[in-house]
């Protein structure tokens, strides 16, 4: 683990010096970055989050002092295997569509008796201030590795979430007129040297969606899909997307559904 982190840092160093040397052509830099990404796959620190997440799932907590083991992620109480590949989905007991993080918060409230505000105080971790959601999501999503994405639109509220998410995707606003679509509606584009997935096409949506959550080397943190959306909107110059908000779930529904059929492949590791 420590060894692989050292290797990663060494690669980042090499990459930085390569980018700094002016005569190097852009193409060779792109090739080097592809190589760097491939080398990253050898050791993924996401495993640390997964282990902690499994512990949190089984640990008795909250005023009711019970674990999350009876939480119904959509496939029945306690069924974790393959659950993430079918989220977001409509939950009859809450009468609304929920993504993983929203469902976890719901279980913390209903099963463990924790207040929603307390449960969702730290959606994203920062160093020693760790987020339970990132750990739980790491473990639960890993239990869907290799499972084909299968997000249903059979319930009217799932259909509505998809339609709203689609509208949000194309919604231009803020001082820069940016929408999700500004960067993610054309194939083969880059921002600086970063490849941008075309999320309006099946292949692009599949590759992108099935590789979140991800361990971000540049941040040293495991990041969930809620984080991904939150940080995209920050860069779009929008206000802050509320954790587990209806809009965040709708946009996730739109993107997850577009990835249907692809094998889920996260937690991944990204630069």
């Amino acid at each position: 683990m420590e060894e692989s982190l050292k290797i990663q840092l060494a690669i980042i160093g090499t990459l930085a010096s390569l980018l700094a040397s002016a005569p190097a052509a852009a193409q060779s830099a792109v090739d080097e970055i592809a190589k760097y990404r491939q080398q990253l796959q050898d050791g993924n620190p996401a495993e640390l989050w997964e282990a902690r997440g499994e512990g949190l799932w089984r640990q008795s907590r909250g005023p009711k002092n019970v674990s999350l083991e009876n939480c119904d992620l959509g496939k029945g109480p306690g069924v974790v295997k393959g659950a993430y590949a079918e989220l977001p989905r409509y939950f009859a007991d809450a009468d609304r569509v929920m993504d993983l993080e929203t469902r976890l918060a719901h279980c913390m409230v209903t099963l463990q008796g924790i207040r929603f505000e307390d449960a969702t105080k730290r959606p994203f971790g920062n160093g020693s201030n760790r987020s339970d959601f990132e750990a739980l999501a790491a473990w639960i999503t890993a239990e869907s590795k290799g499972v084909a994405m299968n997000v249903s639109l059979s319930h009217p509220k799932e259909q509505e979430a998809y339609r709203i998410g689609e509208k949000m995707f194309y919604f231009r606003g803020g001082p820069h007129d940016f929408a999700c679509a500004t960067c993610h509606a054309e194939t083969g584009k880059r921002i600086r040297l970063q490849d941008l997935p075309n999320l309006t096409e099946k292949a692009g949506a599949q590759t992108a969606y099935t590789t979140w959550p991800a361990y971000r080397v540049s941040q040293g943190e495991l990041r969930t899909f809620q984080w991904r959306l939150n940080d995209c909107f920050r860069q779009q110059r929008f206000p802050e997307l509320k954790f587990t908000s209806e809009g965040s779930i709708a946009l996730t529904t739109f993107l997850a559904r577009n990835a249907n059929g692809a094998k889920f492949n996260a937690p991944a590791i990204k630069r």
């Binding site: 002016a22 231009r172 606003g173 509606a185 206000p239 908000s245």
Partner: protein, 207 residues
Amino acid sequence: MKTKIHFLTAVAVFGAAAAGCASMSDEEAAQRALAVMKASFNERGQARLDRLSQDEAQKLCSVPPSTVLPKETIQQLEKANLASIRYPADGKLLGDWKSGERIAQTGTGMQFSDNPKLPSGANCYACHQLSKAEISFGTIGPSLYNYGKLRGMSEPIQRYTYGKIYNAQAFTACSNMPRFGHNRILTEQQMKDLTALLLDPNSPVNK
């Protein structure tokens, strides 16, 4: 008239069924999405909720890029955006290209995580190639390498370049490029400096 209504109903029903939701028209979906968004964001730092209030251009351009807008709509959008351009009172459009290069490299400004007291960057390199030395450039916009060398520095070219930075949608409706002057992202001096970066023969863009 009656036939027309029947036809429209048929189109609406078919469209809704194709989208998998028989109860919401496109306009209803847009209104519902806006209501959901207004409840799904928190004001943070300089990013207030009024950033979700769209102007006419933002509203009309919130469509997939493959959408073909009616010719009259495009003309009307470009005309309105063109009318918004304010050229510098001193008549000078060329600033300092060295400062322009720094502005082109800077990606911060107006995010809720940014210090509102600092000037915004233009982040040109995020989407455009500019100088040969900077290999970390994006491809959302066209390459601007040798922009000035290919076009010269005549007054109409200077005015077009400054105007394009001020409000790109005056020339291309629904362009992806931010309207830097129109939306007060950059100051007049910053836009002059960027115009110089593109046109000055000594700028690395034209080397």
